[in-house]
Symmetry: C2
Subunit: 337 residues, 2 copies
DNA sequence: TTGAAAGCGCTAACAT
DNA sequence: ATGTTAGCGCTTTCAA
């Protein structure tokens, strides 16, 4: 029932508390004999170290906080996996919070993280959370941004160049001969969305007639609705290609299209964004703009850990990855991967 | 840089530490005047409570630990979302760990959880972790199992009846006239798999010729390989239906099949398990056996919280949900949702 | 209504 | 190589 403490272990082993602490933390400083007795006592008592006490004493927790927008999106789980990997390698554990589960969203998690005295915070920000992060930083908790830049460059960040990504999508669609393009994306409360849009529009230029569509939800269900709507259009007004600003949406569009009897890509080509794992596994594999999500997580964690290790000499870094076009059947003339 | 403590707040507000503590925890016990001064001091100093200290003093953390096998599987994120929801409602926060990210897997997370003195543990066990859980329980940390039962009934559990689920899948395939069925699933190190298999075989009986295939990985890539293999078979030896023991696998099978020119469901019908969100959104929507994943998370958390609240009078509960067959295009004669 | 003081479990000087 | 001790920040009797 009750948990044994170092004191109990010391008593049973017939040594002092500091000797027990030493076998735990600096085994070198202790005689083999004492070490052995301590170990025996530990297993006999089922002793488990109390990290709260340790943390209180040490002043740091060896914990990183990671706040993502929505853990159900495979893009974020990839990022999270990268973060955990890098964190582990450096001896940190990570507290994972998904903002969607809190009424107070990411802000609530930042509070929790700070209460728990995490050594640093990684965040995929959705709302306006930069002011809050300023507070944390001032009180000694550094943060790095994922998938979004800090215009003031006060925080390090790791992101992908979504303007380039949008351009990649547009150019690919033009390359395969499509001239009547639609953009379907979320409204512009997130920088990611507006960047993808900007890049897309810049690359399209005056080369093609373009329809623009924005909705608040950007999920699969939403995509289905768009797919059906397109299918109902007279053939002359129908787009011959769609750029959906994320893969969940794109997958939905394909479903809506095919359910209504249209062929993808012959009637309408579809390209998505993120290259989540399900895009390759879909019955009509989806062409997509890939972000190096896992790598982004790794890099972000490494940046953060570097800042934690040496807060004085640390300088803010802005890492921007290049997106990559992954061509699959949903935009290919013929079937194939 | 440095973090203000209650002592600093007390000094600035001209009151004692206990008064500060009181305005934080029992605002009723304090004069409005004092409360006001304390609040001012708190914001002025940017005071943030140190949960490590609080926890050390209180003896509990208000934290729940949740260990899942693989955070990339939407089934688990659904469960996690349910857990977080119920936890929040009861004033708990949750530490989410995905075993895949640790070399030492779930066992490593249990150590972390116990070091952090979580008040209880929720776990989707893969390996043999029951002995370890016995240890935790003995030391005062209760646990509840998700998606798996404890044969000895020493732990509460929340799961779905996978034998019934396997039967549902088999009967549906027989109902639509298929007689040459394949089962594709993982090896039987997890109870889930063997249950699905048992239920499937019992329902098939001698009604159909059946091929059985087992592999260690049960993911989309694996499914693609199976799909292609089936397509290469002479038509006479080809199964006319496949039961894949989870949706990722099933989605891959469909991809392999269609890439090789076969039609789903006409040539081969495919049914999966879990009904993850991408199954409905796939270009050929996938028929699947649904587990109430979100609800399972909610129930598990509630059970655990009940046990934490009253460890004495608590009795072990085993909740088993019924799975539900969701029919979609991948087994339907005609196209449609 | 407020304050003084003890103690949760641990680590790190410091002393032996 | 080992032990003694102070103190991390908080909550909570107990007294005033």
């Amino acid at each position: 029932m009750s948990t044994a403490s170092i004191k109990d272990v010391a008593a049973l082993a017939g040594v002092s508390m500091s000797t027990v602490s030493n076998v735990l933390n600096r085994p070198g400083r202790v005689s083999v004999d004492a070490a052995e007795r301590v170990q025996r006592a530990i297993t006999q008592l089922g002793f488990v170290r109390n990290d709260a006490a340790r943390q209180l004493r040490l002043g740091h927790s060896n914990l990183l906080g990671l706040a993502v927008i929505n853990i159900s999106n495979p893009f974020f789980t990839d990022v999270a996996t990268g973060v955990e990997e890098a964190a582990r390698a450096a001896g940190y554990s990570v507290l994972l919070g998904n903002s969607a589960s809190r009424p107070d969203g990411e802000s609530g998690f930042l509070d929790l993280f700070e209460n728990q005295r995490v050594d640093g915070v990684l965040i995929v920000p959705s709302g306006d959370v930069l002011n809050k992060l300023d507070g944390l930083r001032r009180r000694g908790t550094p943060a790095v941004l994922i998938d979004r830049l800090d215009d003031r460059h006060t925080f390090s960040s790791v992101s992908t160049d979504d303007v380039v990504g949008g351009g990649l999508a547009a150019r690919h669609l033009l390359d395969i001969g499509r001239r009547h393009l639609w953009f379907i994306g979320g409204s512009f409360d997130t920088k990611q969305m507006s960047d993808r849009y900007d890049g897309f529009m810049a690359a399209v230029g005056t080369a093609a007639i373009t329809g623009l569509h924005f909705s608040d939800r950007v999920d699969a269900e939403d995509g289905v609705v768009y797919g059906r709507r397109i299918a109902e259009l007279p053939a002359a007004e129908r787009p011959d290609a769609v750029f959906a600003a994320n893969d969940m949406l794109a997958l939905g569009v394909i479903q809506g299209l095919t359910a209504a009897g249209l062929n993808v890509p012959n009637d309408v080509a579809v390209i998505g964004y993120d290259d989540i794992i399900f895009s390759a596994a879909a019955a009509i594999p989806l062409t997509s703009v890939r972000q190096p999500s896992h790598q982004m997580g790794v890099t972000a964690a490494e940046l953060l850990i570097g800042e934690i290790a040496d807060p004085e000499n640390f300088t803010t870094r802005t890492v921007v990855y290049e997106p990559e076009l992954i061509v699959r059947s949903s935009t290919a003339g013929t079937r194939g991967n």
